[in-house]
């Protein structure tokens, strides 16, 4: 029912058109490539046998073996990451173990180390032959006359460990948000009723955290199954094969690509994540999510007494293990002419770092990753803000359709999306293979769910009355968005921007299939350098990438904080 009094071409309609274009674009990016997998399967060589071949690949002994290995690793890492993330979140949100703002930063610091760099760092540390950790432990052991067993990061437990530390920050973020959303008075009421700390945790806090835990498990499983950097760098040395690596190998190791194997194993991955998703929906069904009261009243933190130091040691130990040690290893290798556990202090030089700037591929890859991160994060946050308004403000059927479609990428491992993009866009009619266009589009799709989570949260923080007051005051939808919503969403959007930037700048999952020699990005180049054994270069590139990522993120967050405190 259109108004007869509305102005002819107000910016309301401009905003509407923009919203429509954005939503249509996202829906296309989701449905077309994923649909193409199906099309590619049924259309391969026009033979009906192919579908059968794909299904055979999906349930083959090889696929089941890969599924078993991957499930074992991801399952172990998920449990470990949940436990560590829960302890960190609880210490930070509910006890006096916090050490100011540093405590909020520490658990998520590992996110700022690009996943490839982190995995390479651990390879340098935990290699049984030339690992720094083994070398240092031997030295320490010889002082007391004890020969410690060698650490082997390339073993199954080693790989599971690297998976775990990769997943912990994601577990932490979900669970800390869960803790924060539980009305402290619920726990206080339990305390007044005579319950002890453990009893409160078991009977009140944990059940209220239910939805957060469910969401975290889904996120960890999806990310774990899609993880490519750690298994390819650490797992392949002792033939610990996982699904994601196998899919990529099927696409890249042979020519022509073994599409049947790639698609079959991809579908297996999708199936697993879909099952996890369904299980999560079933488990959290009927449970109300904890609501944010917005009163911002902190509980008096629990006194840990003598355990406070232990708790703090745990927090710092976590950062040392996940960030400091790998960074030191990378730095040492970057400053040495070659990787050796024996540090020759005299031979340390900045030559390795200089190499990054003198060799075009290295320099370009770093530069590309940064600008891709900036561009994709900016596009995504604007798109996500617009979509959040379209979906949440007008809770229409179309809104929930768009919401549903745009959630699909979250449930599809991003390696699979990369496969789909290769099949759909690299050839006719688009011919986007080896272009930045295909990379940017894939990143937009893959990381949209991450952007949407942040944008939706930012939108929901702006109460509906603030929008209505502006509408009554005569503001059009576009004006409401520009003058009211956007400024108030800035803090939430910048956090999302930083998050997406980190993911894109450190990406390997998408880049391994979509980046080319003409469009090098740092993750893919690092992997190349590592597999060809040029360790000093990979270390130098890792160090520089980590520094650049950290600087961009810190700058963003500081600026956002300043702009929000000025209000």
């Amino acid at each position: 029912m259109r108004s007869v009094f509305l102005p002819r071409l107000s910016d309301l309609s401009v905003f509407r058109v923009l919203t429509w274009l954005v939503c249509a674009g996202l829906v296309f990016l989701t449905i077309y490539p994923l649909g193409f997998i199906g099309y590619a399967v049924s259309g391969l060589e026009g033979s009906s046998g192919t579908v059968g071949n794909v299904l055979r690949e999906m349930v083959s002994g090889e696929a089941m073996r890969l599924l078993g290995t991957t499930s074992g690793l991801v399952g172990t890492a998920t449990v470990g990451a949940l436990a560590i993330g829960a302890i960190l979140a609880w210490l930070n949100e509910r006890t006096d173990a916090r050490v100011g703002w540093i405590s909020d930063v520490m658990p998520v610091l590992p996110m700022l180390v690009p996943p490839v760099a982190g995995a390479v760092g651990w390879a340098f540390l935990g290699s049984p032959i030339a690992g720094f950790l083994n070398h240092w432990l031997d030295r320490a052991g010889s002082l007391v006359g004890y020969d410690p067993p060698a650490i082997n990061i390339f073993s199954w437990p080693g790989l599971a460990f690297v998976y775990t530390i990769f997943l912990v920050p994601y577990a932490y973020v979900s669970l800390a948000a869960g803790f924060r959303s539980i009305e402290p008075s619920m726990e206080e009421a339990a305390r007044v009723s005579g319950a002890g700390s453990l009893e409160i945790f078991r009977r009140v806090t944990l059940p209220s955290l239910g939805p957060s835990i469910g969401g975290a498990v889904l996120l960890l499983v999806a990310m774990g199954f899609a993880l490519y950097s750690a298994p390819t760098i650490i797992g392949t040395i002792q033939d610990i094969d996982v699904l994601s690596v196998s899919v990529v190998q099927a696409m890249t190791l042979q020519f022509p690509a073994d599409i049947e194997r790639a698609v079959g194993q991809s579908l297996l991955l999708v199936l697993v994540v879909a099952l996890a998703w369904i299980a999560q929906r079933k488990l959290s069904f009927g449970r109300g999510h904890a609501t944010i009261s917005g009163r911002g009243r902190a509980t008096s933190p629990m006194k840990l007494g003598g355990l406070r130091r232990v708790a703090q040691a745990f927090m710092f130990g976590y950062v040392a293990l996940t960030v400091v040690l790998p960074s030191i290893a990378l730095l040492i290798v970057a400053l040495q002419p070659f990787w050796t556990a024996q540090i020759d202090w005299g031979s340390l030089s900045l030559d390795g770092i200089r190499t990054v700037f003198s060799r075009p591929t290295l320099r370009d890859s770093m530069f590309n990753s940064v600008w891709l991160g900036v561009v994709v994060a900016s596009i995504l946050m604007i798109i996500a803000a617009i979509v959040s308004v379209a979906v949440l403000q007008r809770r229409s059927r179309l809104g929930s359709f768009i919401d549903g479609v745009t959630k699909v990428p979250a449930a599809v491992p991003n390696i699979i999306i990369a496969v789909a993009f290769v099949l759909a866009f690299a050839g006719s009619p688009f011919y986007w293979g080896s272009t930045f266009t295909i990379l940017i589009l894939a990143y937009v799709l893959v990381y949209f769910p991450h952007a949407a989570v942040n944008a939706n949260a930012a939108f929901l923080q702006v109460g509906p009355r603030l929008r209505e007051a502006a509408a009554v005051a005569g503001a059009s939808q576009g004006e409401v968005f520009r003058r009211i919503l956007l400024p108030l969403m800035v803090p939430g959007l910048s956090a999302g921007w930083a998050f997406v930037f980190v993911l894109v700048a450190g990406d390997l999952n998408v880049a391994v299939l979509l980046a080319s020699t003409g469009t090098p990005v740092s993750g893919a180049v690092m992997l190349d350098l590592y597999t060809t054994g040029t360790y000093a270069d990979v270390a130098a590139l890792s160090v520089l990438s980590t520094i650049v990522t950290m600087s961009v993120v810190v700058t963003t967050l500081v600026l956002a904080k300043r702009s929000s405190t000025r209000q």
């Binding site: 029912m1 108004s3 007869v4 009094f5 603030l466 509408a471 009554v472 005051a473 009211i484």
Partner: protein
């Protein structure tokens, strides 16, 4: 079916708005309401939560889309289901004060108040000087002329609601809507702001539509009081009419305090009647026209209408009972008592003098004038 409702003020005809409840049931929040608010008058929508008053206000504001009927504001149809007219909120040129203030935290006080003047919804945007002057005038009129440069977060709740009020005034709309604007401020500020809203309305002459569940607030502010029940108008009139002559048990109960005693009409005369009740016959001197003998009715008695009967007063036996004081609370100006008459308990309010004989357990003779008693037929 375009009826002529093109008068100044607000006019609603057969307004309908339904909601789907979670269990799928359709609930009528506004159920065929006809209502006229004359230009320049203060109309209060009163009712308990869930009676549809806020929905009705939001329909007028354009924030809720009705399912049927007409709405006209100052002679202009802003919604008509028959003519397929629906002007959205920005095109209605209204001012509105929200329950939770709805001030924009990223804008200063001055920018909040000036916002309606700088949108395109109200025609051409005002010039900077005009905006500045009007904002200052609006701030002055609500007594916070010096807070223009403050940030919203530095203000108290009362000050914030003044800013919201100034924003509504600055829009220079002829019609202002109020959605329980005082329910979030503390009691003292509430009374103060109430007086100021009334004064502003009288000075500036805007038409006010005001939603509240607070009957005291409603009585003080209203030129016209509209009592709502389940999405329908139960009764409308001046506060005096509503209080003195409630149309139903619902109104009698919701506006003010009342005891309603069931009974049966035993005799009707010209303009009077006697009702047989559990406490005996009650004489009533003002009765509804269509009252029949032996009709089941309710007898409505306000607590403040009870008198302690001295020997000399009143004809013996008519509306006079012996009662036992069960409970007594001293509220300063008066005693609030519960009396037992036969098997029936009633509330009564007596002057708070030292010699009022209302100690619990005491027996007193009470009396009520026949013209004070109301008969409720529904």
């Amino acid at each position: 079916m375009s009826q002529d409702i093109s008068t100044a003020g607000i006019a609603m005809r057969a307004l309908q708005k339904h909601f789907h409840r979670k269990d799928g049931q359709l609930v009528a929040a506004v159920d065929g309401v006809d209502l006229d608010v004359k230009a320049g008058t203060f109309c209060v929508l009163l009712g308990p939560s869930g009676c549809g008053k806020t929905t009705m206000l939001r329909c007028v504001a354009g924030l809720e889309h009705p399912d049927g009927g007409n709405i006209a504001i100052d002679g202009r149809t802003v919604y008509s289901s028959a003519d397929r007219v629906s002007v959205d909120a920005r095109g209605r040129g209204l001012g509105m004060v929200f329950q939770d203030y709805a001030l924009w935290p990223h804008l200063k006080v001055r920018q909040n108040v000036g916002f309606p003047l700088t949108t395109r919804g109200g025609g051409p945007r005002a010039s900077k000087d005009v905006v500045r002057t009007r904002v200052q005038e609006a701030l002055n009129s609500v007594g916070i002329g010096d807070l223009g440069e403050s940030s919203i977060s530095s203000l108290s709740g009362g000050q914030q609601q003044r800013v919201a009020l100034a924003r509504a005034i600055a829009s220079q709309s002829d019609v202002l809507l109020f959605d329980e604007p005082l329910s979030n401020v503390d009691a003292k500020v509430r009374v103060q702001l109430r007086g100021e809203i009334k004064r502003l309305q009288e000075d500036l002459g805007f038409t006010a539509l005001y939603v509240t569940h607070d009957q005291e607030e409603a009585m003080e502010l209203a030129d016209k009081l509209v009592v709502l029940r389940d999405g329908k108008v139960e009764q409308e009139g001046s506060p005096e009419e509503i209080y003195r002559d409630p149309a139903s048990r619902y109104v009698a109960d919701f506006v003010g305090s009342a005891d309603i005693i069931d009974g049966q009409v035993t005799s009707t005369g010209p303009g009077d009647a006697v009702v047989a009740t559990a406490i005996g016959p009650v004489a009533v001197s003002q009765v509804p026209a269509a009252l029949r003998s032996s009709q089941e009715v309710g007898v409505c008695i306000r607590p403040e209408d009870w008198r302690i009967a001295r020997e000399a007063e009143a004809a013996p036996g008519i509306n006079r009972w012996s009662a036992e004081v069960l409970k007594r609370a001293f509220l300063g100006a008066y005693y609030e008592c519960v009396l037992q008459i036969g098997e029936t308990q009633v509330k009564a309010r007596f002057p708070g003098d030292v010699d009022t004989p209302v100690a619990p357990g005491e027996r007193i003779d009470v009396h009520i004038a026949a013209r004070r008693v109301r008969i409720l037929t529904r």
